[in-house]
Symmetry: C2
Subunit: 273 residues, 2 copies
């Protein structure tokens, strides 16, 4: 273990029929498993170090299927320079994959979810919405470099990754930080193909599976982050503000509006806990 | 992370219907999950530090069942002074539990499986056999203190835990160490209730799920270990020798005999990989 660096440790799962359709190719499952796990480290501004993983698969799964799964997992790990140091394989009555990852804490420490302060600017990386319908959820990009930049260089007060959608995830950060927020719908960076319709907003805040970063920064830090060319490569947008008043306010052209109705209940999803 | 201590990291799984009967109580599953994982650390002579765990469970499982599972897991972790630092919970089409554990390496390093030398004495802790039939496999005792003693105080050259039975596990150690062994059947410490019958020997070497330690020590170290009161509390027995000639020889009263026929294929087991 590198001297003087705290360790971060996280675990995540992919269950067939829950996090992906039953007919998803093994490569997609392997990729999603690793990237979900690394996204947790990205949200902490941490540097991935090593992973362990497990496969529980029905005996009927042909060896070729498991080989494709393993090959894709190892290739993806190589791509992100994270060492696969072990794992375990067993038969089971359903396909369940798990991954646990160790990461090295950012030099300034981990932002966490509890540090957002009134007046902070809310930033998101990339684009939101349409991840499931478009299939993008099967190849999420963990925002590792961006997480480290936001945590260390731009001194994020709080940070998390968006897996369940802004409307479900942001309240968790607000709760932990004991603050509120106002989010401008027209500022949301919508995924390509989404117009500014009610359905588009609903997808952007409620569909989930984006694995983009949400961070709260002091206004001066946020200005610098928005101008940082390394963050602009993946896209970085200010979408609202942290408020002292508790609760989450959705604004449309400066006027408070109800949260755009979600109603996204993917048969293979929804059931997540 | 404590200074100058290497980390050991392991993961294990318990799948309902594979590692335990479908009707096993949740407490038994939780206990077996933790203790299987800790047994890996015991075999390395390591000190458990912290664990993460995951639950994948069908939606039909009542919350009360999951609560019992979690409560038992936490109680067992407390009992072994290991911190449960996190986890993940999801729905899935079958009940699959995983646990990953971090341990601190023994002061003399980890014995591993590759260090056995010709002339070494083979020691086992506890008693072997009858673990499945008697239900003992649902409450294995991880030999943590014993593992540390064997690794650090008694300088074991090689060590492993017996999960699949001596007849399947010992060859793995021999293979890695590029040596052979001769095991005296009459020296095997049989579980209470097993006589010296062929069936008893078959159970002791083939039934598996004992989670006892098998270690190879230099003769003088083995003598000291056999006299160590802290090891004698759980039982410590010499069962044979490491030989330069490859292969595994079973001896009965000094005469080579075929391996007592196993034929243990528990419906819920056997399928392990």
């Amino acid at each position: 273990v590198p001297r003087g660096r705290a360790l971060l440790w996280t675990t995540d799962q992919v269950a067939l029929g829950v996090h992906a359709r039953a007919d998803a190719p093994p490569e997609a499952l392997a990729r999603k498993l690793l990237l979900r796990t690394l996204s947790d480290l990205a949200a902490a501004g941490a540097q991935p170090w090593a992973v362990l993983w497990t496969i529980a698969a029905p005996r009927q799964r042909p060896l070729a299927y498991l080989r494709r799964l393993a090959r894709a997992f190892l290739a993806e790990a190589r791509r992100h320079r994270v060492a696969v140091v072990g794992g375990d394989c067993t038969t089971a009555r359903a396909l369940v994959l798990t991954c646990s990852a160790l990461g090295l804490e950012a030099r300034r420490g981990t932002p966490g979810r509890s540090g957002a302060r009134p007046g902070d600017v809310l930033l998101v990386t990339g684009r939101l919405g349409d991840a499931v319908r478009s299939g993008r959820h099967l190849r999420p990009v963990p925002r590792l470099a961006e997480g480290r930049l936001l945590a260390a260089t731009h001194r994020a007060h709080a940070m998390m990754d968006l897996s369940d959608g802004l409307a479900r995830d942001l309240p968790r950060l607000l709760e932990r930080s004991r603050v509120g927020a106002a989010v401008r719908l027209e500022s949301l960076p919508l995924a390509a193909g989404l117009s500014g319709s009610q359905r588009a907003f609903a997808s952007a805040i409620g569909e989930g599976e984006d694995y983009e970063l949400l961070a709260a920064l002091a206004p001066a830090d946020a200005r610098r982050a928005l101008a940082d060319a390394r963050l602009r490569r993946c896209g970085i947008h200010a979408i609202g503000r942290i408020t002292a008043a508790r609760g989450l306010l959705w604004l449309k052209d400066g006027v408070a509006v109800p949260a755009p109705a979600a109603g996204f209940s993917h048969r293979w999803r929804g059931s997540r806990t």
